[in-house]
């Protein structure tokens, strides 16, 4: 049977506020346990929450960016359950009246086509603390530093049809929250976490199959692997005559498998009700207008502009717009050199491999946008060839010069364009390879093409790559045919 995968994602993005959502504690990652847990965060008797304005603003930014309706009245509710990392015995979240309503995000698939993924809602809530399981005499240790960190939970529609689409969607959300400056996107530190709801159904069937939820998958790679594994598990289960049970599962990256979380299995009854310690949050239109005015150009808009303005391919535009920093870098290179295609090639080619090799972020690049743009200018005006440019680039990366011009000058890499000098050099090359010249002249047209390449190679070698390749071609042809 042919199966179709149906995926919906819940992404928890930690908002990059200074303080917690309901208290004035810091939210820095990696602090000593319980040193960022205030009376409110500890759920001390008699303490009360007061909502952080910045968390509200950030949620609104997100809502505007996905074209969602922002609820003019949104309400915090309590989700009641007992767990040691949940100090109050309830999580303050939003249930029936989330701050962000229905919206959407367009993602680019591998083949360059676009797909619209619906976003059901996004709501504000507080994060829980952490249970540490190192052995404290058979006990667990509880650290409540993270308790109360503001989260935006972004819930997608079940519009996603494959693990690859899921990854593309998470990447798009990741790019978006970073563009908006509302989340640092650091998945290793848990700033962006993903729960995947996965089900399968026979192709053509309208109803959804029973879904399993894979909790807390924390890297793009694991999202793809976890989903693929879960899809396979479900298909095999059904084909063997079994049934998928609705449950929560955990992905184990070491074993590349998902397993049932039995401790959370018992039917939970969260007894949601409006939090009586918090009042309805009112969002005025004037506030939204003000927030909208602060929105940066978003990835989708940027992608479209790159295609339109610079004539980039959909794929190139998508790669370059994926992060705000990369896009800014690219645009800065382009501003200097005035050649978007060359700029795109260099940023996505040499620069990307350099950064990948040294595991650097774009804002840590050893070659600045001004340097790269300056170098491309020299390619364009024939001062250097593309091949020489790679040497110049490496020199710049190694800090061997402040600019391409300086490197070219210092290393004597300037392209030779003087025809006289090139001719003299070619004469030497031909004299040194008299036998090959004979053979060439005796050969028929079909074979000559390949043989011609040999002479070009020898000529470039002789000039240490500095001879202008166009001139070499032209003059060489003339001499051989003479």
């Amino acid at each position: 049977m042919q199966w179709e995968t149906v995926i919906g994602l819940e992404i928890h993005a930690q908002l990059s506020t200074q303080s917690k959502i309901f208290s004035a504690s810091a939210i820095a990652f990696g602090a000593e346990p319980n040193t960022q847990a205030s009376l409110v965060d500890l759920g001390m008797p008699g303490t009360l929450p007061v909502l952080n304005a910045e968390a509200v603003r950030m949620a609104c930014k997100f809502g505007l960016a996905i074209d969602a309706e922002i609820a003019p009245h949104n309400i915090f509710a309590r989700k009641n359950y007992f767990y040691p990392d949940l100090p109050k015995g309830y999580q303050t979240s939003q249930m029936d009246h989330p701050i962000v309503g229905k919206g959407f995000l367009d993602i680019t698939l591998e083949d360059g086509t676009q797909k619209r993924i619906g976003i059901t809602r996004a709501h504000l809530e507080e994060d829980a603390g952490k249970s540490l399981h190192e052995d404290f005499h058979g006990m667990s240790g509880i650290d409540l530093n993270r308790a109360g960190t503001p989260l935006l939970e972004i819930v997608s529609e079940p519009d996603i049809r494959s693990a690859k689409e899921a990854v593309a969607y998470v990447k798009a959300i990741h790019a978006l929250v970073r563009y908006l400056g509302i989340c640092d996107g650091n998945m290793a530190e848990g700033s962006l976490r993903c729960d995947c709801n996965v089900s399968v159904r026979p192709v053509g069937q309208a109803e959804f199959g029973t879904r399993a939820e894979i909790k807390n998958v924390n890297s793009f790679r694991f999202i793809e692997k976890a989903i693929n594994h879960e899809v396979q598990r479900q298909i095999e289960l059904i084909e063997d005559g079994g049934k998928v049970v609705q449950e929560t599962r955990l992905y184990d990256p070491n074993k590349d498998q998902t397993r049932s979380m039995r401790s959370k299995e018992e039917a939970n009854d969260y007894r949601y009700f409006p939090c009586p310690d918090l009042l309805p949050v009112v969002i005025e239109q004037s506030f939204l207008d003000e927030v909208r005015a602060t929105l940066p150009e978003l990835p989708v808009e940027k992608r479209a502009r790159f295609e339109r303005e610079f004539g980039l391919s959909a794929y190139d535009a998508d790669v370059l717009a994926a992060s705000r920093e990369l896009a800014n870098y690219f645009e800065a290179v382009n501003t200097v050199c005035g050649d978007a295609k060359l700029a795109a090639n260099w940023v996505m080619g040499e620069l990307s491999s350099l950064l990948n090799k040294d595991n650097l972020e774009i804002d840590q690049s050893p070659v600045s946008a001004e340097q790269l743009g300056g170098m491309i200018l020299r390619i364009k005006d024939n001062t250097i060839s593309g091949k020489i440019a790679k040497m110049v680039f490496e020199a710049l990366a190694a800090g061997e010069g402040a600019s391409a011009d300086e490197v070219i000058e210092k290393k004597g890499l300037k392209q030779v364009t003087d025809s006289g000098a090139i001719e003299a050099m070619l004469d030497e090359v031909l004299a040194a390879n008299a036998e090959q010249v004979e053979q060439y002249r005796a050969a028929d047209e079909a074979k000559r093409g390949k043989m011609f390449g040999f002479f070009v190679g020898q000529a470039m070698k002789a000039s240490k790559g500095k001879a202008n390749p166009g001139q070499v071609n032209e003059l060489l042809k003339k001499k051989l045919e003479a």
């Binding site: 303080s19 004035a24 504690s25 767990y83 404290f136 240790g141 009586p276 009042l279």
Partner: protein, 95 residues
Amino acid sequence: MALERSDVEKIAHLARLGLNEADIPGTTETLNNILGLIDQMQAVNTDGIEPLAHPLEATQRLRADKVTERNQREAYQAIAPAVENGLYLVPKVIE
């Protein structure tokens, strides 16, 4: 709809309240009496009435995003039943 013993056990579990076996019948009866009182509500016509969560119907005030809390772990943990290395200790959490 009177509660039965199993309902009371379920509610007590949700609320994480340990009940003495011997108290369950009495608790069940008392809870049913209270629910009897509460159920008088059902006779009231509330069609078209909006629920009222807060008497004053005010709106939420927002706090400026500033860190003003400082570390007071020692003071806060002085009243904790069990701590070690700055962590609160609980019986092993199994996921």
